[in-house]
């Protein structure tokens, strides 16, 4: 539950969302990611740490460099987070439709 909340806090930040978009197309080192932002390098490092902690990013050692890439499984979970809300309305509207169809045949 805590971890879940952290994921949403993680993506609530615009810089972190920008980082996710950046690494979506290719694995990148911390330095390469930081070069895309005006913010100080330690700030970007902190963002990378948060994104890694909540498993949105994964690290991969390649020689002396650490590359960051998206964890597609976690991203999929976020994409699905709206689904319970949609399902709630879909259930309500299905009930509405059933009730009104009966209503119609009564008339």
């Amino acid at each position: 539950m805590n971890l879940r909340r952290d994921v949403f806090q993680a993506i609530a930040d615009p810089t972190r969302r920008a980082i996710l978009l950046l690494v979506a197309s290719q694995s990148m080192t911390a330095g390469a990611i930081a070069s895309n932002f005006d913010t100080a390098r330690p700030t970007v490092s902190k963002h990378l740490q948060i994104l890694t902690e909540c498993e949105l990013l994964e690290q991969e050692q390649n020689g002396r460099e650490i590359y960051y890439h998206l964890n597609p499984k976690k991203i999929k979970e976020i994409a699905d987070f709206i689904e319970p809300f949609r399902k709630m309305w879909d259930d309500r509207f299905n009930t509405l439709e059933t009730i009104m169809k009966k209503h119609k045949s009564k008339e």
Binding site: F8, A12, F85, R86, W89, H103
Partner: protein, 160 residues
């Protein structure tokens, strides 16, 4: 299978749009929104007040089996055009979310089908995102409670 109810929630915006097409003539769809006894059936809540007119107000309340109030919501109606449009506010009492503005538009597609577009505006992006996550959080809680019941039943059996 195509999803009948669609939700559009653009990242970073404090609004969302719910659309749904119904196998119902427009008049029947609209009726489901104005007749209190019908609203009660599909919303699963008691309708204390529903004044379908400009400057009218509405009030819903749900009690659990023990008679405790578990859900209360209210609002005012700003615009009411039969079979076309309802503009209203919605506020869930006892929550930190505050009031939201809802634009409901009803459209005829064919003689027997109609469409509802519900445009909801929240006070902030953060509040919208929290509300979107509510059913998700409740789902987790329900699963958790069920699990706890099973676990306590098991330990109870062991104690016997």
């Amino acid at each position: 299978m195509e999803r009948k109810t669609k939700i559009s929630a653009v990242d970073g915006k404090q609004e969302l749009v719910i659309t749904r097409e119904f196998d119902l003539p427009l008049e029947l769809l609209f009726k489901a929104y104005v007749e209190p006894d019908i609203v009660e059936q599909w919303m699963g809540t008691k309708v204390l007040k529903l004044e379908n007119k400009k400057h009218g107000s509405w009030q819903f309340e749900t009690k659990n089996a023990q008679g405790h109030v578990v859900f209360q919501a209210n609002g005012v109606i700003h615009e009411f055009i039969p079979s076309q449009k309802i503009t209203r506010t919605f506020e869930m009492e006892g929550t930190p979310f505050g009031v939201q503005l809802e634009f409901l538009e009803f459209e005829e597609l064919t003689d027997n089908t109609s469409k509802l577009t519900m445009h909801i505006v929240y006070r902030s992006v953060a509040i919208r995102d929290q509300i979107l996550q509510l059913p998700f959080a409740q789902g987790i809680n329900m699963a958790h409670n069920r699990l706890q019941n099973i676990v306590s039943e098991l330990s109870h059996d062991k104690a016997k």
